[in-house]
Symmetry: C2
Subunit: 493 residues, 2 copies
């Protein structure tokens, strides 16, 4: 693969200096247009040691307007990063729309280096690369431009480079023992890189091989590619859905019966039973929350459900039982403008708690396939691809060791009406009922279909849905507590 990057291409200094002014002006102009667009740009600069990745990044920083870009080098992980799912370190540095993030190696460092070090076997590598493909596709479908550069140097050239650096007293220190160690592993690195590049060379985010023997050629090639890609991408600012969607529901059969009809809403619990069970499960939960903290296992509990479905009450029965240091409740409402400037999952990544804590979501990322679908806030292509994005997201949480528990609190139309009227009569509950709630009732059917499809597509073994019979509040609350306790008990104890 790398033969095409060993052709000894050169640009001499005079030519380099001649090209620069125009190139830089064009780069700044493109970046200015970018800043007005809704496109986030990710640039990854990879390559073996000695290929001049740092020099390329510095050149880009010099030629672009640094106010619109960020450079990200992740050398050693902070403990805040270690205590969160793997991709948190990248999500928190992803560019907002109109901005550029330049990553040193980015998510490609681990697969390439760990494979050489024998710390990543074929299966794990396969999983890692699959995940990278999905991650990049997701960003691209959201409008991102991803540019991936691999700087290449032939084996002899790499050694020559290191020797030259060592012979110069000013640069001697920049060649480390690790560099020489890696140089001896040249063939393994090239093999590992080739495999990684081959499997992540996607149509939408292709790798760009750059011959790094001559630094002028190298810098200009990267810069021109950045420029051309920006210009091209800016010509079509609005990414169109990649596939035409012809059959809106291929997965779930579309008759009036949904999975929600299987929930037996007649189930109830007497006051006496309720009290007994409540005390018992709350005691268990208190103990389990501390056990999860001790074992550094996070718990993520999602509550979805129609208006007046009893989410708040169920959440309170859980938080009553837990120490306030161990949980946070996140209420998902309309996104802020910073959140809107990123992929819709970004706002959930940024709030990710450290290991050992419980996070309870009162509505969640499922808004994408519920309210955003029903109200057409999201385009069809957007909410359709959200199912697999969400499954990927939750799988990452689970892989990190988080326990993901999801509830749909189901009530029927009559019960909702009863509760709405109740709310209107109790002084301190009046604020909980708005005109929007009444309007939503008219979309009951649409919501049922959306919920049905959501449950079908996102109930996984690592993050299953529990449908809660919500007409009887006591029954619902106990079902929630019991489910949480059982999941925690199974995993932690």
């Amino acid at each position: 693969m790398f033969e095409t990057a060993e052709l000894n291409r050169k640009i001499d200094k005079t030519e380099y200096k001649k090209q620069l002014p125009e190139l830089r002006a064009a780069l700044l102009q493109a970046q200015f247009a970018l800043s007005k667009s809704n496109i986030p740009v990710v640039i990854i600069i990879s390559g073996l040691d000695g290929t001049g990745r740092g020099e390329v990044v510095n050149a880009l920083n010099e030629w672009l307007d640094t106010r619109g870009l960020e450079t990200i080098a992740i050398n050693s992980l902070t403990d805040e990063e270690k205590e969160r799912p793997y991709y948190w370190r990248y999500w928190r540095r992803l560019p907002a729309r109109g901005r550029i993030s330049i990553f040193f190696g980015g998510w490609y460092v681990d697969p390439i280096v760990q494979t050489v070090y024998g710390k990543m076997d074929a299966v794990k590598l396969h999983d890692t690369l699959t995940h990278i493909r999905r991650f990049e596709s997701m960003l691209i479908e959201d409008g991102a431009l991803i540019l991936k550069f691999w700087l290449h140097l032939a084996k002899t050239e790499q050694q020559k480079r290191f020797k030259t650096l060592e012979n110069n007293p000013h640069t001697r220190r920049s060649v480390s023992k690790r560099d020489w160690k890696h140089a001896r592993l040249y063939n393994q690195f090239i093999q590992s890189a080739e495999k990684t590049i081959r499997q992540t060379d996607l149509g939408q985010s292709p790798w760009l091989l750059v011959e790094a023997t001559n630094s002028c050629y190298r810098n200009l090639t990267v810069a021109h590619t950045v420029l051309n890609s920006l210009q091209k991408r800016l010509e079509t600012p609005q990414i169109k859905p990649v596939t035409t969607i012809t059959n809106p529901t291929t997965f779930v059969s579309q008759n009036s019966k949904t999975i929600l009809d299987t929930v037996d809403l007649t189930q109830t619990l007497s006051k006496k039973e309720y009290r007994k069970l409540l005390a018992s499960y709350q005691g268990q939960l208190h103990r389990l929350a501390w056990a999860a903290y001790a074992k550094k296992r996070s718990t993520i509990i999602v509550f979805e459900g129609g208006d007046a479905g009893g989410k708040g009450g169920a959440i309170r029965r859980m938080t009553q039982a837990m120490d306030a240091r161990l949980y946070q409740v996140i209420s998902t409402a309309a996104p802020t403008d910073e959140e809107r400037a990123h992929h819709y999952l970004w706002r959930f990544w940024r709030l990710m708690a450290r290991d050992g804590r419980a996070t309870i979501y009162d509505r969640s990322w499922y808004g994408r396939v519920l309210v955003e679908r029903v109200e057409s806030f999201a385009q069809e292509a957007e909410w359709k691809r959200a199912y697999s994005e969400i499954n990927d997201f939750e799988e990452q949480l689970a892989k990190h060791g988080s326990i993901v528990i999801k509830f749909w609190l189901h009530i029927d139309l009559d019960e909702q009406l009863k509760r709405f009227k109740e709310r209107e009569q109790v002084a301190y509950k009046q604020h909980k009922i708005t005109e929007e709630d009444w309007r939503n009732r008219e979309k009951w059917e649409d919501y049922s279909i959306a919920v049905n499809e959501m449950v079908a597509r996102t109930s996984t073994d690592f993050a299953p849905w529990t449908l809660v019979a919500g007409n009887d509040k006591r029954f619902a609350r106990i079902q929630v507590l019991k489910t949480v306790c059982k999941r925690l008990e199974n995993i932690i104890v």
Copy 2:
């Protein structure tokens, strides 16, 4: 001081349960009103071990709507916290307007505990408490409500409590060796707490002593106080400036001559000299940036100046010289809605880099006393108090070991006109000139006065201003580079 909290006040369980429903309804109502207001609420729950701080926090979490509040317990610092100025750990958890943050001890833990442990002497304690007073005043002036509770238990009661806990097999584990150690230090803790409380008991954020012998009394007292304070504060949602401002400029004499007139704008540099000096200082800066990284010293460089003053060009001459891994450039524009929901300094705290990095601000927190003052975006009382807020802020940076360097790039009206016209003629510079720039020229006088006062009030020994003669771009850029190199050289090498 604590005698008033040893009166054996009690509320029995029946009375407690009777009061609860009404209290909780009122709390929820007040919190709902709060959520629509522009008031951030900070609640601090302090007290000796065994006084039930955790129980109180849990009760508040149960009675309030957890979706509008966050509980913050800082047990051990993360390395990300250690590598930033002390108060970063608090700033990043301060509530947005309409929300509540409950801190376990908050910024009072260290002064009380460290004094007992002999790790904080009288001088450092004095500084710490002075800083706390200023910090709280600042938040209050920005509209915050701060409630500080001290839960008190007599010595005999504390020991009784620990023994009871130890005798119960379910709670035995909750009494630690550290608890008993602290119990033996009861008198010292009380002394230390008394001193701290006395010196931070401000009219606007008074301490509230709560007798903690009886848990029902304790919880109800805290909850009622929270309720009453919320209600009272909500009656006057718009905080009025505390002092009437009669004399607008007491500090700087108000004639047409300003400190900017002392800048000799005729200074120039030939192309040849410039090239030589640029190469020399850029080489120094490259080395010094790495040295600062190695010594974990952060550098914070602020650029302020009129339109077309040459900020961008000067910044680029610096970033060209530094490794892109070592710096970030932050361009300060209009705040986002999340930033607007906090104190104006919050946005700068949140972007604080870790130790060893350089952060270059293209415009900064000084916008408060420049554009916000001139354009009346900030009220007079707001920008007037900003001087001391900024001095406090920069002092914290300096105390942490950061090197703060500030530049005002000064040009005269004629030079600005020349540059505006130039920009209009160069294709890729046209976007840099807007109608607003032309409008700002008419306010030249107002800006001069504002700059003059800013320099007078915020040029400190830990963060001095450098006025840069900007008419000659070459001269200005070298002055900037030279100043930065000298400061770094003095401090780091």
